[in-house]
């Protein structure tokens, strides 16, 4: 559950953002990452952006997450 998910900021108003990862969209906050801008790829953990991340890094993590979620289908979800 320390996993942070890379996602792109597709909407941003104040510190309230909508982010997108592999077509999944959800709400997140940029309270902890003041420099985050619209269009940036960020790492999201427990609903908050915690750092910027590059494209290549993001792709690798998405693959890993896909695998974990698959594993979790019969169990529970990884939070954050």
């Amino acid at each position: 559950m320390c996993l942070a998910i890379p996602a792109r900021i597709v909407e941003l108003e104040g510190d309230k953002a909508v982010v997108d990862a592999m077509g999944n969209r959800w709400k997140a906050r940029t309270t902890l990452l003041a420099e985050a801008k619209l269009g940036d790829l960020v790492l999201i953990h427990a609903g908050f952006a915690i750092s910027l991340v590059d494209e290549e890094e993001a792709k690798e993590t998405w693959q890993l997450i896909a695998e974990i979620n698959d594993f979790n289908q019969t169990q529970n979800r990884v939070s954050g």
């Binding site: 320390c2 902890l32 953990h45 609903g47 915690i50 594993f71 169990q75 529970n76």
Partner: protein, 362 residues
Amino acid sequence: MDFMLDRIHKAQTLCNAACEKMGRQINIMEVCGTHTVSIFRNGIRSTLPRKLKLLTGPGCPVCVTDQGYIDTVLQLADRDDCLIATYGDMVRVPGRGGSLETKRTKANVKVVLSSEDALQLAKDNPNKIVVFVAVGFETTAPATAVVVKEAAAGSINNFCILSGHKLVVPAMRALLSGKNHNIDAFLCPGHVSVIIGYGAFAEIVEDFGRPCVVAGFEPLQIIEGLGEICQQLSAGKAELKSVYPAVVTEQGNTSAQKIIAECFEPVDGYWRGLGKIEKSTLKLKDKYSRFDGLKRFNITETPGEDTSGCRCGEVLCGLIEPPECGLFGKSCTPQTPVGPCMVSSEGACAAWFKYGQKRKDE
């Protein structure tokens, strides 16, 4: 692709050389549930020399949470005036008299994906007290801190948290201070380091002479991290390095650190398997104490005991591997978990169960 193979080959050569030079088994501990999953999923263990052993440490927040905390959560879930807001990972952890999942039938347990959802639940249910099950390491604690501040600012008084937030570095110190440990070096957690910065591990290198290398989750990074550690061990050195430069800086996320420090203070706390560790658990500061669930319900948390037969404690300290537990794969499986290491997808027992573990030369 060739370039990648070269890098893997180089790291493997370093690992092999270290094993030869040391002439004994080398033990490297990873302290991150996501590393555990990636190592198993990518079959990294099978590519390592026989004498290089990876130990799974206390890197899964659900797994290290003491049984006493779980029992407190379950106790509150029984109250009609409470709504329990929890991350999904905690729902199936067994405790005294069941798990949150079995309480779920009472409709007072809600799974949330963020701390903000938990606060929203309080706003939407003014006649209930929402208790947020706040577990997680430094990565997760800032998210809790933000909503506690917001609850205070908005006078949302039917919200409180049970802080089970834990700090990674004190746990590493506790492991190295124990007599029985056999840890030569640490592969340090990537996403915790995003917050605390890789500089936070300097004290482990300085005080205990153990190499600390921060790595991301790609197999290549993990293998290169191990290569870096082996190179240091061969040379008799202990250094602090990050092979995760795309995301982790030396200072970490200072806004997140500030907000943790503003809301929380480190106090002594209980960990599964590791017992009481000095200044290892985050407790809300006095100015936010009205959001502290223990105070609100006047609960004194006592350390709990593991479910009988479960050896999660030893698994978390790297003392045994999951198959050495008599229940592994028998009464304990991901469908019928006996301990948290089998519940959490990041737990060592679960990863071991799913991916199995064989070295190429076994």
